[in-house]
């Protein structure tokens, strides 16, 4: 089966008069239909920049790209405005962390969903509103007919996030990009939205990329997990392998420093230091300054992402030594 999405050696650099930021430094991965890839990373790791690149949402005049992003075989980095307009919303849709700012506050939810449906399918207004109502039902918003007339501020955070999922799925996309969609939600609401995304993903056979900083959330939704650090994927593996036997020292540190059940009284294995400044292209392994296994070879040249097992890629020259 061919891939829904192929990202190859993606580099994204932001250039302003004061400063250059190398946000993404060679990211490659594939995604199949019906598969969920979780991208896990801390702030500044390049996870959101990678995700937004798939829709080319970065300011054009300040962004330098190289590499390739193919959606169903079409090269996104070569698309003109018209092709991009058709890509966004219709083939690839995105949901954001803060639904309050993703919706326009002066139009009703129904208006905004119907507008999108009309733009992409050419349906009449009445048909578009009918579709909007179906969509609100699909994301289990109670009394959907009334909610169509609600403004974003009249809904709770959880309802707004459901409405945004409805908007995202309004044109039957094949790829859904989720940028920390449950981070701003309360715990009891977060799990509802996660389950909803999982269900809709199965129902519509969606490819999903789910960006999060929360390991628990990534484990709940993902088939595979990619861990990003300093603009690179440092480890990519099936969710069970990633949780049971992470290989990269950063992935291991991240899992060990995440507080969970039964760690009371134990000292946390914190990773010392802080992530690097991305003002310069790294000359060696970006994690080397914080790594307790560091060797001279680590700083000589950047390590490659190498397979260590079935469907398991690790960017570390010491993988065998570390795993032992």
């Amino acid at each position: 089966m061919s891939n829904l999405l192929e990202v190859r050696d993606l580099h994204v650099t932001f250039v302003t008069p004061d400063r250059t930021v190398h946000a993404v430094n060679g990211v490659s991965f594939d995604l199949k239909r019906g598969e969920t890839l979780g991208i896990l990373g801390e702030s500044g790791s390049g996870k959101s920049v990678t995700l937004r690149s798939i829709l080319r949402l970065h300011p054009e005049h300040r962004t330098r790209w190289s590499g390739s992003i193919r959606v169903e075989g079409d090269e996104v980095l070569d698309m003109g405005p018209r092709a991009l307009g058709d890509l966004r919303g219709q083939r690839v849709a995105m949901i954001f962390q803060e639904p309050a700012t993703a919706f326009d506050p002066v139009f009703t939810i129904g208006h905004q969903i119907a507008e999108t449906v009309q733009r992409h399918t050419g349906k009449s207004e009445a048909d578009a509103y009918r579709r909007a109502r179906e969509l609100l039902e699909m994301v289990r918003i109670p009394s959907p007919a009334q909610r169509l007339k609600a403004y974003p501020h009249e809904m709770s955070g959880g309802m707004r996030q459901r409405a945004m999922i409805a908007l995202a799925l309004s044109c039957n996309p094949s790829l859904l990009l989720a940028d920390e969609p449950t981070t701003a939600l309360d715990a009891t609401v977060q799990i509802q939205v996660l389950l909803l995304i999982r269900e809709l993903q199965r129902e519509f056979d969606l490819g999903v990329i789910f960006v999060t900083h929360d390991i628990g959330v990534a484990v709940e939704v993902s088939d595979r997990i990619g861990v990003m650090y300093a603009g690179k994927i440092v480890e990519l593996a099936g969710v069970e392998q990633m949780v049971d036997a992470p290989q990269h020292p950063y992935s291991r540190g991240l899992l060990a420093s995440t507080v969970h059940d039964g760690m009371r009284g134990q000292r946390l294995e914190a990773i010392p230091g802080a992530p690097p400044d991305l003002g310069e292209v790294p000359t060696g392994c970006s994690f080397a300054p914080r790594c307790k296994f560091v060797q001279p070879a680590c700083v000589a040249k950047p390590p490659d992402l190498r397979p260590t097992g079935q469907n398991h890629l690790v960017r570390c020259i010491l993988t065998e030594a570390v795993a032992a």
């Binding site: 309360d186 715990a187 009891t188 799990i191 628990g216 484990v219 709940e220 540190g253 059940d261 010392p272």
Partner: protein, 343 residues
């Protein structure tokens, strides 16, 4: 001068460090001309709690449950509508007690937003020396104290003392905020979502540091967070809030090991599973927390509770002692009228 020395323990170890009784804070919102149709957010309603010397009391709950209002009431950033507070035997803001200023010297707070909490125009050293100097510490001694504080929170004094907040990372700024909270040698530190904005690898560093500082300086913590795992990690006792009320309070082992209130149970099982083989199949409760304006009558959780009955709408459940923990649920009170009430 004596106000910059540590305060001695007075009432002995058994006397609570802080005792708050019947605290209430309602915020009027909107409302028409002359207060007609005025609505009220019942942020905190008749809340009683005590903090024992040397413990860490965790406070958990979702947004709008009033946990941050509790913190602000305890340090008097907000004046309670009703209720009293006693700090180690001394009533607060009462004729024979201690003043609010004295309270704030012994009780300090660290906020979530590390950047907004620091004055951008002051260097780290100026920020840390501000309160000790205001309390009469001579400049030379204040300088020594700044160095000492920076070292305590793991920041090299020579490197960081003369920097401005924007020159530090989020984790380093939060360390400065913690240092500032310790500058007057307080007895109780209120940490309101103090690690929530930090990345996991940095959060672990700060949590380790908080554990060390507590032992080194014999501190007591009130740790407020929405992160149930972090609260479990740090706390000795845990208080669970819902819409301005305590729903459950008890030792951390009891709350996490044998939660009694349906809300606590739901909150704990809503945590994402860390095991891909045991994913969550069903959300424990549906819907969002209701608006704290006009909360439901009786038990405030009843609109989302799978066990709600008539009595829950009519009567507000008292906080009842079950032996290990205290729970505000009719099912835990014999003869409450709930069909599942204990015998």
């Amino acid at each position: 001068m004596d106000s910059v020395l540590p305060v001695e323990d007075r009432g002995g170890p058994a006397q609570p460090l802080l005792l708050a009784s019947g605290l209430r804070k309602h915020f009027p919102v909107g409302g028409g001309l002359l207060g007609r149709g005025r609505k009220v957010v019942r942020a905190v309603d008749d809340l009683t709690l005590s903090v024992a010397k040397g413990e860490t009391l965790g406070v958990v709950g979702e947004s709008g449950c009033g946990k941050s209002t509790v913190a602000r009431l305890l340090i008097r950033l907000l004046k309670p509508d009703r209720g009293t507070m006693v700090l180690d035997g001394d009533p607060v803001d009462e004729p024979h007690g201690i003043t609010v200023n004295e309270l704030r010297r012994q009780v300090q707070m660290v906020f979530q937003d590390s950047y907004a909490s620091l004055n951008p125009r002051l260097t780290i050293a100026e920020t840390l020396a501000f309160a000790p100097k205001a309390h009469g510490l001579p400049a030379a001694e204040a300088r020594d104290r700044v160095r000492d504080l920076l070292a305590k929170v793991g920041l090299e004094p020579d490197t960081y003392a003369e920097r401005y907040p924007h020159e530090l990372s989020g984790g380093q700024r939060q360390r400065v905020n913690i240092a500032r909270a310790l500058a007057l040698r307080p007895r109780l530190v209120i940490l309101d979502e103090a690690v929530s904005a930090l990345d996991k690898s940095v959060e672990a560093q700060v949590l380790n540091m908080l554990v060390d500082l507590k032992t080194e300086l014999s501190l007591t913590y009130l740790f407020i967070s929405h992160d149930l795992n972090v609260v479990q990690y740090l706390s000795d006792r845990v208080l669970v809030m819902y819409l301005g009320k305590i729903v459950e309070l008890g030792p951390v082992e009891a709350i996490y090991g044998d939660p009694q209130h349906p809300y606590t149970q739901a909150l704990l099982s809503a945590r994402p599973s860390m095991d891909p083989r045991k994913r969550t199949k069903e959300a424990p409760i549906q819907g969002d927390p209701p608006n704290p304006i006009d909360p439901p009558s009786g038990c405030r959780f009843r609109t989302r509770c799978p066990f709600a009955e008539d009595v829950c709408a009519r009567v507000e459940p008292p906080l009842a002692d079950t032996g290990r923990q205290e729970v505000a649920c009719h099912m835990r009170v014999a003869g409450s009228g709930h069909s599942k009430a204990v015998a």
